[in-house]
Symmetry: C2
């Protein structure tokens, strides 16, 4: 593998990769005391489940709608009540998530090294613009790509193709970064070079027949990988000792 | 709606509709004492999640393989160990599930009324043959259709098309029956007449933009619906009072 410094195209997933959804726990806990952790986990799981099912049954609805539907379902299943205003306010939080602590520094460094950065997300264009604007990093991204353009969610291959087509490169020339194991599997299946981010250290592999090229605890693994490019094709924690 | 006695084509989902997966709880509990309920729920959820993700990312593997992978993932996530023999033995149970108590009587009655019955399932052909043979009802089904023929799982529309194509009828002429809410949503989206079976009474609706035509606590709702056909288009518990 030749050194790739300065020539990389990095495609980042948004939620759970650049943007930290864990703030939703506190918000939910204030509204439903003692239930924030459970509701946040169920909300995320239901939201993703709905994106997969809607994609498979060809019944796409935008991510903000699905996010709100999922919250309503989860609150209802927990036997709690929420007004429309509650649901709107909580769902809107998805456009207001902060970046993880190391994100700004890593993004700036990659740009300084000459890389091209982009976002590829399930989020709506409006949600993503809101997130990127708030992060102060908008100018660092060449483009923000939403699945809304093709009305099917990750991990459908058409989503990943959006990114390689946008830059006119082969899939193997795209360095994809995600904190969602199933997203990593879909991206790897499509042919991207994949870095999996495992922030909680519990393992990010999902048995879908694919393995990421490397795993890091946060985005700094990308800088390490860039620095050591050319010395080794496996320049971070090797994949395979992950459980 | 005209009376349809004697002319119905009924397509049944298998697992959770005709065949009772709850026996897996006891088997898991014997192997992992105290954890049977949690493991069984996680196993089923992970198994389905894998079918949806593999379908979306175009990485089909047969249901027996996915079922075993899901069990291994769930046991690992619970911090428990299982040998290959354990996994094989437990996964094989999916071909050995009993029918729910009322199934035989309802199936016999529908056949007596002149209806045509079939199964449409995610299961492999071998798994389904094993289930149907053990039920003693093999002769009652005109055909057992598996998604394995098209290598994509429910709720992809191509799965439901397998059934209407097999019988050469329009989707609206197929009476589809399932205990899985997401399956009901996919079938309704495709255009089938859908009866949702809600055995635990906790509600079988999933907010995917579709509603079944009727809901029953078990398969006897089909006989009631058949008896009253012509009197009312909504001849069982109406849909809409379900939470």
């Amino acid at each position: 593998m030749a050194p790739h410094r300065g020539r990389g195209i990095y495609i980042f997933d948004a939620i759970g990769t650049l943007f930290d959804g864990s703030v939703l726990v506190d918000r939910l806990d204030r509204r439903f005391p003692g239930e924030g952790v459970a509701l946040a986990a169920a909300w995320r799981a239901t939201q993703l489940r709905m994106t997969w099912l809607r994609s498979l049954m060809d019944a796409y609805e935008p991510f903000d709608r699905v996010t709100r539907d999922a919250l309503a379902a989860v609150v209802g299943a927990a036997g709690r009540e929420a007004t429309d205003v509650d649901l709107d306010d909580l769902a809107k939080m998805y456009g207001e998530l902060p970046v993880y602590p190391e994100v700004a520094e890593v993004i700036e460094t990659l740009v300084d090294l000459g890389s091209t950065l982009a976002i590829l997300s399930n989020g709506t264009p409006a949600m993503l613009m809101s997130l990127v604007e708030r992060s102060g990093l908008r100018e660092r991204f060449a483009v923000v790509l939403s699945v809304d353009a093709i009305r099917v969610y990750k991990p459908h291959p058409a989503v990943y193709r959006l990114a390689s087509d946008h830059f006119g490169v082969a899939p193997r020339d795209v360095r994809f970064v995600s904190g969602n194991a199933w997203d990593c599997a879909g991206a790897k299946r499509f042919g991207f070079d994949v870095t999996a981010i495992d922030r909680v250290g519990t393992g990010v592999l999902e048995d879908l027949g694919e393995r990421p090229d490397r795993i890091g605890r946060d985005l700094r693994v990308l800088i390490d990988a860039d620095r050591h490019a050319g010395a080794s094709a496996m320049n971070s924690r090797p994949v395979g000792d992950e459980v």
